[in-house]
Subunit: 303 residues, 2 copies
């Protein structure tokens, strides 16, 4: 973001070189280097069809995946992403990938985590930084992919299957098994994650292992699971949910987004009080359904 000013002008090192002289001499190719990529977790909310004229359509959290057309993991589904060019920052690479994949530019983007296991890509050593983008449901140009790659939205389910706690001498071990289910129009992908929290005299170690992975390429099941946990914790104390909403929305639609991310139901009255200060009502109503019309709200910038 900012160019470093030369900070040690005139100072000479042990060989008597100034910084400028040193840099001319510097050979960056001495060490072997890993490849660096960005992986994009692009989320949006989509409605499921509903034939009952009274019932509201159910909202689902969706993620964009790309079907791999080349080895490795040929035919499996992977996160969109690609190599970081030498003349672009990580963030610029993330925005570029986002735009290539969806045509979107002005959306919420957040760096999630950097994955650096040695064998995570069978081709070569790849370190990849994952970014999470939240797009609202209006602008879902699903397959704006210019290359031949097939892109599709998958609804995301992430649930705790089983939990066990074992007490040790100076602490305990908490084992949690989560299931990730990604449902597309034709395919259903699954992964099972084992999260182990080892607490020992105040030292906490969290290990996330991918136990099974059906149809998902690389370690991307683990990355999606990590994103879900981040989404769940952030939705409670920030306003990220609004990035998934269109300009105007009903409070029930907003509540459904919260419920879909948290994986549990909320009480209507309490939810409305909780978000009251974050929304501003408009004069418009949604009237198409077989029940009382609902007021439309927008995000309240004042807070």
């Amino acid at each position: 973001m900012k160019k470093q000013e030369s900070a040690s002008d005139g100072i000479r090192n042990k060989k008597g070189l100034t910084e400028a002289e040193f840099l001319v001499d510097y050979n960056p190719a001495r060490y072997e280097r890993p490849s660096v990529t960005v992986d994009m977790l692009i989320f949006t909310v989509k409605k499921r069809k509903e034939k009952n004229y009274r019932k509201l359509p159910e909202n689902m959290l969706n993620i964009l995946l790309i079907k791999r057309g080349e080895h490795p993991f040929l035919g499996k589904w992977a996160l969109p992403g690609g190599f970081v060019n030498m003349d672009e920052s990580l963030e610029e690479a993330a925005y570029r990938e986002l735009e290539e994949e969806t045509g979107l530019r002005d959306v919420y983007l957040e760096q999630l985590y950097t994955w650096g296991d040695v064998k995570r890509d069978p081709r070569t050593r790849v370190i990849s930084t994952s970014y999470m983008a939240l797009a609202d449901s209006r602008v879902l140009s699903p397959k704006a992919a210019d290359d031949a790659a097939e892109a599709a939205w998958f609804s995301v389910g992430y649930n705790l299957l089983k939990e066990s706690r074992e007490d040790t001498k100076d602490g305990y071990i908490l084992r949690q098994t989560y299931q990730l289910i990604l449902t597309g129009d034709e395919e259903k992908l699954t992964a099972v994650l084992e999260v182990t929290k080892t607490v020992n005299k105040g030292t906490v170690l969290i290990d996330r292992k991918l136990k099974e992975s059906e149809g998902i390429a690389f370690d991307h099941g683990r990355i999606i699971a990590y994103a879900m946990e981040r989404l769940r914790s952030k939705i409670m104390y920030t306003d990220i949910a609004f990035h998934l909403m269109p300009e105007l929305f009903t409070l029930t639609e907003l509540q459904q987004v919260y419920e879909v991310i948290l994986g549990k139901e909320l009480l209507k009255a309490n939810f409305r009080r909780k978000v009251a200060r974050m929304v501003a009502e408009t004069k418009e109503y949604r009237t198409d359904a077989g029940h009382r019309p609902s007021k439309l709200y927008r995000f309240n910038i004042e807070i």
Copy 2:
């Protein structure tokens, strides 16, 4: 952490190659690659001397820095760190650097953020992942550095200097100026950070610029500032503070750690109620000072 099983056995790509055949052919050296490093933010808490026999020594948050013995930024202070080897994960590299620098192994370690600006290192393109380590005050082997590099602890101060808000058409711009002050035995290093939050129709953009940097190498002032913000927000809803404490501690010592990280004073009675469930009292007392003896507590594993 886990080797990927070959997931597309037998499937052939457009050229008729199986995954095994494809990988034999794959040439990883086609693209130019950035260097990847880890930067370590090693924090601990140290007491300041106090001559008044009644008064308690003041606790300060400290960070370990290394004086650069080579260009660029020769003579400036930098975060410990180094290149990631091809056969070690990012986390393994972080633990290795931590051990080389401090001799510590079993401490709290957390990945913070990955910095990928193009010009952040004048030598070559360097992408670096920062890790935060919290060590308790007992085990501070300050300069276990085996090489010639000089290492030292600096107390950390991070304060909001100025804040202004400007309303725009569809949102607002919040500008905050923070000052980072690192005080060592002989030197005082400073940096000024400008954090700009641009809120626009629900899109939030956070930009952190390093405005001044006195005595701190690279963009490390910005990284330290980021770590301070992470520490501040996490201390309120997690138990990380305990990783900075020795096995046994008084509640006042614990409160001082909270105060030093938050940069503000807390009310004693309320603080004690807040941490009550996270600590377990022992039968031991601290009796050396000119006031009522204080009970020693330990971290409560039960919660």
